[in-house]
Structures are given as C-alpha cells and as structure tokens.
C-alpha cells in the first residue's frame, strides 16, 4: 500500500468514527483507532487528517466542528431554517436565563449571590431551574464561606449547545464591549 493510501485510510477511519458517534469525538479516541489499525503515524498527525476530513465536506450540507474538546459533524447553518420546521425545536431561553448563563460562563465557578450582585437583581428559581433542566449549568462544589453556598459552573453540554470547543472560545470582555458599541443594538 502506498503512503497515500495509508493517508486515505486514516482519513476514512476518522471520518467514519466521527460520523458514527452522536457526541463529539475526542482526539484520543481517534488516535486509539488509528493505532489499532496500524496507522499510528497518522495518529501523530491528526490535524492533517482532520483537515482532510473537513475538506471532504466542503460542498456538503454538513460540516466538521470542534465542539467541547472533540469533533462532531453538524448541519451547516444555512440549511437550518428549512429543517427547523421539521425537527422539534427546544424552548428558547428567557433573557434573564441568557444573562445568568453569560455571568456564570464568565465568572465560574460562582455562587448565586455573586450572579445576583453582578446582575443587580435577585435570581428567580425558575431561571435557575430552566438552566439546570437544559443541562447548561451544574453545581461544582461549595464556596468555603459561611453558609457554604453552592458554586455553579457551565457543563460540557453548554459548549455543545453553543458550538464552542472550550470556554476560551468565549470572546474576551473587551471584545464584547467593543462589539457592542459598534453594533449598538443595545439590550433594552
């Protein structure tokens, strides 16, 4: 088998592995697969393999995304409006819920009181409940202060739902505000 054929085989295997999974596939799982198929050298050059996999989908309605530390095929955004009518839509999150989620995303792990202090309003139980129900927030230990309040953090599901690879993909604060004043769509 020529060098090229080995590469093709590695690309096919990685493509199949990602496609066969319902959740994002971690690079380690791809490496394990390539090693098991005597393609360890391509496991070392996973970036090239993944680039080729993504390239295969250049003209497709599906694309390869880096999600929550793994890789996943998802439909492209431009086909979404058509599909939305067919696939059941999840509920939209309220503005308070989105803000609470944003505060936790940027300040995690943080307590309920901290979220309230930043937003300047008390946090309704239904808001917290809706975020927990969607699997976007999770408790992450307790803060060692009197009362030992629960600390909240975002879940891997949060990354997955918003198409982020890591929390570092969130825009920096200065980028946010700059964007805001340019767009100036305001929150009001």
């Amino acid at each position: 088998m020529a060098e090229e054929d080995f590469f093709e085989k590695a690309v096919s295997l990685v493509e199949a592995l990602i496609f066969a999974s319902a959740s994002p596939v971690k690079p380690q799982a791809m490496k394990d697969l390539l090693v098991s198929q005597d393609l360890a050298e391509w496991g070392e050059q996973l970036d090239i393999v993944l680039t080729e996999v993504a390239h295969r989908y250049a003209d497709h309605a599906i694309a390869l995304y880096a999600i929550a530390g793994g890789w996943q095929f998802r439909t492209r955004e431009d086909v979404a409006p058509a599909l939305q009518k067919i696939v059941e839509k999840p509920r939209r999150l309220s503005r308070s819920a989105m803000e609470t989620l944003a505060v936790v995303a940027y300040h995690q792990p943080c307590t309920r009181a901290e979220v309230e202090a930043i937003r300047g309003v008390s946090l309704g139980q239904n808001v917290l409940d809706s975020l927990l129900e969607e699997g976007l927030l999770m408790p992450k230990g307790r803060k060692e202060v009197p009362g030992r309040p629960v600390l909240w953090a975002t879940t891997p599901m949060f990354l997955s739902v918003f198409g982020l690879n890591t929390l570092a993909d969130l825009p920096r604060r200065d980028e946010l505000v700059a964007e805001e004043s340019i767009g100036d769509e305001g929150a009001s």
Binding site: S21, E99, R119, V121, S160, L164, V177, G186
Partner: protein, 250 residues
C-alpha cells in the same frame, strides 16, 4: 392601581442597576468616563417622578429602588462636597465601584447577546441524533476459574454428604413393654427377696441422651404400676421424689 403602574414601569428594567446602565448609555460616552454624579441625579429624578405619580409607594414593591436611591443620594451629596474634604476619597471609591459594576453588567449583557446570536444546537444546527452501534458482544468465552471449580466441588460434596446421612434419627426408648418383660424375668427367679430400687432394672443407659433415660424410667414405672395393679408386685416411695422401690408380692 397607580402603584402597579409604577411597579410595572420600573419592572421594565431588571432592577435599579439595569436602569442605571440604561441611563449611563444616554450619556453617550464610554462607561469608564461617565459622570456618576450626573447618573445619580438622573436616577433620583426618575425615581422621584415615579414617586410623585404613585403618590404613595408600596415599599415591598420598590425596596431595591429605594435602597439604591438612598445610596445614590448619599453618593451625590459626597460628590458635591468640595474636593478637599475627608469624604471625598470614600465617595470616589464608591463611584468607582458603581462604575465597575456597570461595566461588568454591560459586558455580561453583551456576552448574553453574543451567546444568543450563536448557532444553537438543534435550533440552528443539527447533530446526528443517534450513534451507530459498532459494538459486537462476544459471548463465546466461558467465564470460569479454578476457584469456581473448587467451590463447586465443596458445594457438591457438602450437599451430597448431607443427603447421604440424612435419615430421621431413630431414638430407641426403653419401652414399658421391655420394662415389663425385665420385671417378669426378675419375679420368676425369686433369689434375693425384699425392696429393690426400681431404677436397678434399667439397662445400661450411658451414652443415651437424658431424654432417653427419663423415658426408660417412665417405662419402668408404668410397667411396675401395671404389675402392682395386677397383684404381682408391690411399689413404695418413702418420700416425694424419693427412690421408687419394688418387691415381689408375697
């Protein structure tokens, strides 16, 4: 009714901080350069306007707003004082703190709208809803080990052993019938005459359980009583629980 109008109106904002942020925006400058004094005045003016409209304020509805108003009134008074006074630094710090909170709130607002604008899974993008199952279950192997064999052997032996010896235990009581025969034999030989202990006719009962010995004694007594009734012998007992004696009837 009017109270509710006030409440509903202010409720258009997510609390006093939200209103402050909105007011700060009307200053049309970078948040880090807004005038806190102007902001405090604007806030107090808005709250005062609602107060007048409402005539009376239901405190439980507007507590947050009033606390903020009181605090801002204090801040305003300090900021208005000549810069040389002691309160100056304190007020500046408080103003800085408020500014920081507004900047943070604005950033979080922006983050929320950034997140809202993201393609959302199963809303604007779709993943493959089910995974292919490439797992094959191999049931060909036997899960056995040597300790299993040994255990099974012990178990089998135990059960088998129990089974082999299991039989209802036959308790061979020395019966009244046998006692009668023994007494009959003794009556016939008439060698030493006189009272004799009844238990002396019992066989050697060593090794028998106590219940066996008692049963044998009871048997002997029954046989003795029967034969006494038949006039073949006499029985006596000197005291309660004393030895029972017998002799041939003359």
């Amino acid at each position: 009714m009017v109270n509710e109008v006030l409440h509903l109106h202010l409720d258009g904002f997510d609390g006093p901080l939200d209103l402050l942020l909105e007011l700060a925006r009307t200053q049309n400058v970078d948040l880090s350069r807004i005038s806190i004094l102007q902001l405090a005045e604007q806030y107090l003016a808005v709250v005062e306007k609602f107060r007048q409209e409402a005539k009376t304020v239901r405190l439980e509805l507007a507590a947050d707003w009033l606390v903020m108003a009181a605090w801002l009134a204090w801040l305003k008074s300090r900021l208005l004082l000549p810069a040389t006074r002691d309160g100056d630094k304190e007020a500046e710090e408080a103003a800085g703190l408020l500014q920081e909170r507004l900047i943070e709130l604005e950033a979080m607002r922006a983050a929320a709208s950034w997140l809202s604008a993201r393609p959302r899974l199963n809303q604007t993008v779709f993943e493959r809803p089910v995974a292919e199952n490439h797992t094959r279950i191999d049931r060909s192997l036997l899960r056995v080990d040597l300790s299993g064999v040994v255990l099974a052997y012990l178990r089998a032996r135990q059960r088998g052993g129990r089974k082999r010896v299991y039989a209802p235990r036959v308790i061979r009581y020395w019966s009244a019938h046998q006692a009668r025969a023994a007494l009959g034999r003794l009556l016939g030989c008439q060698s030493p005459v006189g009272w004799r202990y009844l238990h002396s006719i019992l066989p050697d009962l060593h090794g028998e359980p106590p219940v066996g010995r008692k049963a044998a004694l009871a048997g002997a007594l029954m046989a003795g009583l029967e034969m006494a009734k038949g006039g073949q012998l006499e029985l006596r007992q000197e005291q309660h629980f004393g030895e029972i004696e017998w002799r041939e009837k003359e």
